[in-house]
Amino acid sequence: MGVHRCRKCAAQSVIYMPQHRLALCAEHFLAWVEKSTLDFIAKHHMFEPLDRVLVAVSGGKDSLSLWRILLKSGFQADGLYIDLGIDAGGAYSKRSGEYVRKFWRTFAPESQLHVLDLASLYGKTVPEMAGRRAGGRKKLCSICGLVKRHEMNRVARELGYQVMVTGHNLDDEAAVLFGNTLRWDVEYLLRQAPVLPAEESGLAGKAKPLARFYERETAAYAIVSNIDYIEDECPFSKGATSLRHKEVLNSMENGSPGTKLQFYHSFLRARKKGIFPGYERPVLQACPKCAQATGIPGLCAFCRLTTDAEKSIGEEIL
């Protein structure tokens, strides 16, 4: 196979995307990603040009690329970094926060960066909340996810953002979809969408503007944009099921380009048509302490976690 030329200008390409049969040079690749993101935001009615958008940034390639794209496109987008207090011998959270701050100084000096330090707010880091002996990585990650969701929601609502966006890419979404499908977890399947509108029950609107890009493309966008991001993974992600699912999907993709794209898009179409008719979402109620929506009566899982700090909470709740 010869070197692909950019489809727009015939210069030497920096990336070839077999699923689109599209090769682009650096300049046209950036333009393509930005335009596609705007189209995706409009198509799914994620937010409007004048909305205030809160970007959940982790220091990784996806969320920083997303912030960059939104700012370049003229959106009023501020950042939220949650310091989870993950160290595991490599100062992971501390280093991630440094990448976020560096990005902010370089690319977003006019925007706000909200930094939320769990240890100083709640007296405990995520690993401490999960308890030292209690239950291993899986439980740690579910507590981590719970805390992140709750805090993003809280900050978005308290500070009056119309929508909260995350950097999830198509590989993330396809891996989750793959897992949910293997278990035929209908409740999760029905909830998986690139956009979830704000509900009265105390949840902010949520959107995933990069959910149409392969992970390879969001990484390429960061590299071509000279965004410095944390390349290594959270030490607790080792052995995660989602990583195995990604590997499986990527080996299928390698044999037939477009597999992941089709898997995810066909699902979205089916979902729109109403797969699983007759299935009703559980009724949500407001947590008496934090007012966020919860499916269980009484305190929500987050409030139980942070109120009852002494107990090794995860067990009953998750």
Binding site: M1, G2, V3, H4, Q12, S13, V14, I15, Y16, A23, A26, G60, K61, D62, C141, C144, D171, D172, Y214, E215, R216, T218, A219, A220, I223, V224, E231, E233, C234, F236, S237, K238, A240, S242, L243, K246, E247, N250, S251, E253, N254
Partner: protein, 63 residues
Amino acid sequence: MVKVHFRGSEIETPGKMTVRELMKSLGLNPQSVLAVVDGNLVSNETRLSDQGEIKLISVISGG
């Protein structure tokens, strides 16, 4: 020889191949890595120059 940087380690490998061939020879899925030469992203069809250096970046994030 081509010097390959990947996940904090260095590997030397005979040159005269494309980036894609290099990825395959290292057992990497071309879907999950990108190649950077002199700070610039290069496509998988790029032919490596002997005595060059290349950095491979894993694009898969988990959790």
